[in-house]
Amino acid sequence: MEQDEFFGEKAFQHCCAEFIKHSQLIGDGWEWRTSKDCSDGYMCKTHLQIKNGTVAPRPRPSAHEQTGLPMEEAAELALDDAEAAEVPAVSPVIRYEYHVLYSCSFQVPVLYFRASFLDGRPLTLEDIWEGVHECYRTRLLQGPWDTITQQMVAMAGAVPIQSQEPGGSFFQVSHEHPILGQPFFVLHPCKTNEFMTPVLKNPQKINRNINYVTSWLSVVGPVVGLNLPLSYAQAASQDM
């Protein structure tokens, strides 16, 4: 009865474990969080970015540990260094949070994300979208984004963002995080199977290993400002 499970929760957790192993190797900041009362969990990453698009330097672990300051304050210490370099003095810092959860309804991973200023004020979808546009405009102009976004336009259940750019309509719904209960934006999972199936079929033909979560995140991540270094893919092809 369960053989028709395309990508089950156990497979998801295994892929995440492999993904996080690599993240720890390259210091990419992903971690696994479990919910207090249940065995399920999710991957989580936070990064800070100055609003004009420059990525804030990652706080050195020593600053965080030695000073005992919370992560944001340690980052501001690091930012002071950056400001001394070239960054304009008055640029708001934005805290992006990405969560990768498993949807048992759609049997695929789902990307939840939110952004806020350091004082906790949340950003609107338009603000987030603006930030992403600057960094990833070229990538978004290429296919297969146009196809995916056009298919998603046909789907009810999402709020399209009006934009003049091709590939500029993207689909996020403000949603309650199933474990934390707070509002997040979500990339709707209903089309994930469609674009992941060809991704999975090819490696099977040439007998190469891939990590579903890595491949999926490398497709959806960039649209919301999340980039995956290439080394993840190299690591995946070497895994069991």
Binding site: G157, E176, Q182, P183, C190
Partner: protein
């Protein structure tokens, strides 16, 4: 206009009918914005009807993903989706059910949906709800009941606690019998978004 305070007082108290026109320089550019301390971090904001429609359709899609692997809802045309929303919005039972009944059907060779869309809400946990995969029919062909569901995904809800304090299991404000088949509940007692929203409430002590 007069400076006479008595006349102005009469105008103020509505004893003299008057009609005022503002001069251009008396008109402010924008209205004062109301100040709301909306807890953005904790609550979903509903900025427009479109946002609510989007959210509703998203729930419908998820319910059908569980029931029919999304086949039924994806086969529908955009106007059918629109009819579901308009029927709900305008309280038109027949309009809504003309389409929704298709989402309540299942293949003749099956005994029910693939999985039952449900969410269980409790006050005892920080987690917003419990939602898991659960089949309406057991391997031996027996129909699962509401009690079976709770025993499997939320045993604390029906286990008697110390002091014999029991919980109420509510759907739509009523307590269905725990022996009720889950498939029947899903077809007949689901909310408009096609989910069974089940509340676990501590028994009132009076």
């Amino acid at each position: 206009m007069t400076d006479d305070k008595d006349v102005l007082r009469d105008v103020w108290f509505g004893r003299i009918p008057t009609c005022f026109t503002l001069c251009q320089d008396e008109i402010t550019e924008r209205e004062a914005e109301p100040y709301y301390n909306f807890p953005e971090k904790d609550l979903l904001h509903c900025p427009s009807k479109d946002a609510i429609e989007a959210h509703f359709m998203s729930c419908m899609k998820e319910a059908d993903a569980l029931k029919h692997k999304s086949q039924v809802i994806n086969e529908m045309q955009k106007k059918d989706h629109k009819q579901l929303w308009m029927g709900l919005q305008n309280d038109r039972f027949d309009q809504f059910w003309a389409i929704n009944r298709k989402l309540m059907e299942y293949p003749a060779e099956e005994s029910g949906f693939r999985y039952i869309p449900f969410r269980i809400y409790q006050t005892t946990t920080e987690r917003p709800f419990i939602q898991k995969l659960f089949r309406p029919v057991a391997a031996d062909g027996q129909l699962h009941t509401l009690g079976d569901l709770l025993k499997e995904v939320c045993p604390s809800a029906i286990a008697p606690e110390d002091g014999g304090k029991k919980n109420q299991v509510m759907i739509h404000g009523i307590e269905p019998m725990l022996e009720t088949p889950l498939q029947w509940l899903s077809e007949h007692l689901s909310y408009p978004d096609n989910f069974l929203h089940i509340s676990i409430i501590p028994q009132p002590t009076d």
